[in-house]
Symmetry: C2
Subunit: 309 residues, 2 copies
Amino acid sequence: MSLAVENPGRGAAAVIGLGSMGFGMAQSLRRAGLDVVGYDVAAAAVERFVAEGGRGARTPKEAAGDADIVVSVVVNAAQTEAVLFGPDGIAEAMKPGAVFVSSATMDPAIARNLSQRLEALGRHYLDAPISGGAARAAKGELTIMASGSAEAFAAARPALDAMAAKVYELGDAAGTGAAFKMINQLLAGVHIAAACEAISFAAKQGLDLQKVYEVITASAGNSWMFENRIPHVLAGDYTPLSAIEIFVKDLGIVQDMARAERYPVPLVAAALQMYLAASGAGMGRDDDSSLARLYAQLSGAALPGIDKA
Amino acid sequence: MSLAVENPGRGAAAVIGLGSMGFGMAQSLRRAGLDVVGYDVAAAAVERFVAEGGRGARTPKEAAGDADIVVSVVVNAAQTEAVLFGPDGIAEAMKPGAVFVSSATMDPAIARNLSQRLEALGRHYLDAPISGGAARAAKGELTIMASGSAEAFAAARPALDAMAAKVYELGDAAGTGAAFKMINQLLAGVHIAAACEAISFAAKQGLDLQKVYEVITASAGNSWMFENRIPHVLAGDYTPLSAIEIFVKDLGIVQDMARAERYPVPLVAAALQMYLAASGAGMGRDDDSSLARLYAQLSGAALPGIDKA
């Protein structure tokens, strides 16, 4: 007996994109009793979802055709547009009145554009970028920064409740959720760069780095990112939990938005150059704390495990 | 009956510099039972200390002559050097075996130099930069990042206990405390600039700034400084709790240290330019959250109370 039959009132959902975030979100939806179909461009990801009890689809259209809620967990605006309006786009295959829940981080102007085009076809769009890593996705404990019409929120509610510990309702139009996410990414990206600039400078001076971590996390110089990322540097472990390329992308979006609005972002610009340099130096797919290795390489500072890099 | 007679074993202390921090530290020393003499270049500050029950001195030498512990709470390295070795310097007037507790933020190399010169004269030097505002100074709840010889720590102990909630013992030579403080200032200065870059960018996009504060302080983009300073921006109140000029000074020290060590600090450099621009635009003595006003002026973003600025 399927979960959907056990909880018929919960409705049917499709998840497009079964990466580290989407897989966990799909499992959270199943756990909450929704009938979930998963799709990914990588067949292996779909097979894994099926092996763990989910239903798989061969195309986005096949996944979306019967869904009341389509949750899109792709990487960026271009992929989101392709899912909706590309050659195999689902926009017209979606059920009238169904909702598209878009979680990719993107320029708010693009979110507004996608929303307007989809709503013109009689489907709802919820601008719903997510925060929180794969572990929280798997537990259904994400933070979602959402905006959209009352109808979009109402249609998406069972999925939001299943996937998130906290849903911020930020406005009645797409774009506002995206804008809040970009403010968060601006700060997060700059703070990682600052944390790495600081810890490698401490190393350059020969300070006890464990002690630096202890003192800073108890002082006014602390940030969420310093506290979260510097342990990777102290362990010399650059296994990607979140990769350099994510901030190449996200600070790039912030810089482009700011340029279009004639708003100066000198800190973002400086940080973005460091992410680009790290990527250019071959660390693009490594953990974003790899900026500390970049600073060490540029200065001769000695970091733990640096010769393993 | 004086406090010193009530607690003769606590010893005698001098406080050089009775500004917002030094005044509170002197009061904390008195409350702990030390016999405290205060000196400041501003006679009014000494008079206020006397009016509240302290003892005043007319020169630094007069203050330091009988002290077991001299706490220096001046602004920078130049003033610290002048207190010790200037025309009216106290170095040779201090009792042999007494300790000089230096709280100014400075380049570690200068702290090492001052320490070596004072210790050559048979007096101890404790490198002891402080963290925490005037309110915590008054309550004896500062954080002190200290380094120095065992003798310097032992001699300074009654004052450290009286002034601080937390004393980090970071090494056996002057300079290490200063280096830790500079790492903290690097992060604090960049985080204030990032917070202001972000909140004014949110304003430029017309976002609900109270909601931005709520979302960011619960998200990965948070920092101690975002949480502490952005309420000033939301209130439109730039009364200086800590002024722009403090970070003109402190990020200047970091940039100079880094240049000397051939260590690149692109985020510090970008942030320092913004503090310099704010100072140049007339906000040097205003609260450091004034960087938000600078971004608003540069972009036309509308901040609360901005036309009062």
